[in-house]
Amino acid sequence: MTLHAWLIDDAPASAWQAQCGGYYRGLRRAMRSPSTVFGIVSVLGIVLIALLAPWLGRVDPNAQDILARLQPASAQHWLGTDQLGRDLWSRLIFGTRPTLLIVVLVALLSAPMGLVVGICSGYFGGWVSAVLMRITDVFMAFPRLVLALAFVAVLGPGIVNAVLAITITAWPPYARLARTETLAIRNSEFIHAARVAGIPTWRILLGHVLPLCIPSTVIRVTLDMAGVILTAAGLGFLGLGAQPPLAEWGAMVAAGRQFIFDQWWVAAVPGAAILLGSLAFNLLGDGLRDVLDPKNA
């Protein structure tokens, strides 16, 4: 039996095979849309670049060469150099690392937090919901960047603090989303059936409600990644995120700002990277929406 036949088998012999078949069908659906493929390839590309940075970067991103500052693109410096004569290509490649780190950490911290708050609020209703949702409202009412700024100002600048600041402002929408989904799921017959079958509440929440809330949250998180990259870049730009000499795209744009008219590439190169990164995550999110939408299952 070929792998394909095993995967699309209508009568799977084990739970494992059924699971793989589900993933396989999703993957095939994703591959039908060119923009999704572009999103997947770009995001994978960024991840690969981050992993292979020492080999791709050619030179140390922090090696200064005052004699060769602000040079345009050349055979030696593919994308030119910045105000301290550092190789922009190298800094761009190494810049994927803090950016991805921030994106991944924010996603890993804020999505579970939003899910827990949202699902509990939606499932239990009543005063639990009222309390949790008012807290969510409070956090939602703050302008995102301003709250992050205040937070970083208190804790001091740095990548970890930037992540915390962004997380604190990022989770409320996920809580809202999960709550809405849970409200609809809570009254469905399969939840009633599970309750009648005597399945304990925590198992219903984890095994029955959560799996149905995850797709929409994953989609939303992926779409928000673009925003997170921009916020991280914004914090970097304001000098509150990654600290010099660490190569970070936002900080690089900020540094290039002074030379934007004469040596435009210093700001444009990391700017284009930010643009591409956000676009890739956006397209991936769109594609995931098509794949994970239960209506297509």
Partner: protein, 252 residues
């Protein structure tokens, strides 16, 4: 009568919508004998499904007394942990009553696993066979099943815990006539094999007449009369609503 499996006395159920309170069920009393098929019939919104929700423990806003197999519940009291082995329910919509992301195997085995029962795998295969599905269906997802197959899985889930009483909430009204016939035959076969007591809710007089020993007619939250088998066979009601219901059923 002392061999009643289920006794419901003076059941009132309330719903709150905003500040208004609405009484869905009014002073309903009936008994279901061990081993019989008891029907509840009535138009939409008459409270028949609400009674099932209360019996299954999904609804807490009620007053009255429910005695199921000797266990007494009063005035909105929650069901105890052993409740689910006494009573199980099959829902109306085969498309909505199975978790879309759980395989048939998980749907059937989870109620047993949470109870720490043994030989789960063997039992899953056994129940699947009972409901006429072979083992090829075991690891399928609901979207790979037809409506009739889903309802068979739902019946299998209700049977894994070997309940004494099975609540059936219009289990065939969302199915095509030919599939309905298959499910009704299955329910009759299972009854012969397992001796489970059925409480069958429906608006379809044909289904009720085919399956039930006794039937209670409901109108706007109240139980207007209970028909004995001989009256059911001849569609002979005494209450005006029953007579009207029987007449209408022949015109629709």
């Amino acid at each position: 009568m002392d061999d009643a499996l289920l006794t419901v006395s003076h059941l009132d159920v309330f719903y709150k919508r905003g500040r208004e309170s609405f009484q869905a069920v009014r002073d309903v009393s009936f008994e279901v004998q061990d081993g019989e098929t008891f029907g509840l019939i009535g138009g939409s919104g008459c409270g028949k499904s609400t009674i099932l929700l209360v019996l299954s423990g999904l609804d807490g806003h009620w007053r009255g007394e429910i005695v199921l197999d000797g266990v007494v519940r009063k005035d909105g009291q929650r069901a105890s942990a052993g409740h689910s082995t006494q009573l199980q329910m099959v829902f109306q919509d085969p498309y909505g009553s199975l978790h879309p992301r759980h395989t048939v195997d998980r749907t059937l085995s989870e109620p047993m696993r949470v109870r720490g029962l043994e030989h789960v795998e063997q039992r899953v295969l056994e129940v699947l066979e009972h409901v006429g599905l072979d083992s090829r269906f075991r690891f399928r997802y609901p979207h790979q099943l037809s409506g009739g197959q889903r309802q068979r899985v739902a019946i299998a889930r209700a049977l894994v815990l070997q309940p004494k009483l099975l609540l059936l909430d219009e289990p065939t009204s969302a199915l095509d006539a030919s599939v309905q016939a298959e499910i009704l035959n299955l329910l009759m076969d299972l009854k012969k094999q397992l001796g489970t007591t059925y409480l069958f809710v429906s608006h379809d007089l044909g289904v009720i007449g085919h399956l039930c020993d006794r039937v209670a007619v409901m109108q706007q939250g109240s139980l207007v009369e209970t028909l004995a088998p001989e009256n059911l066979v001849e569609l002979r009601g005494t209450h005006p609503y029953t007579i009207e219901l029987f007449q209408n059923s022949q015109y629709a």
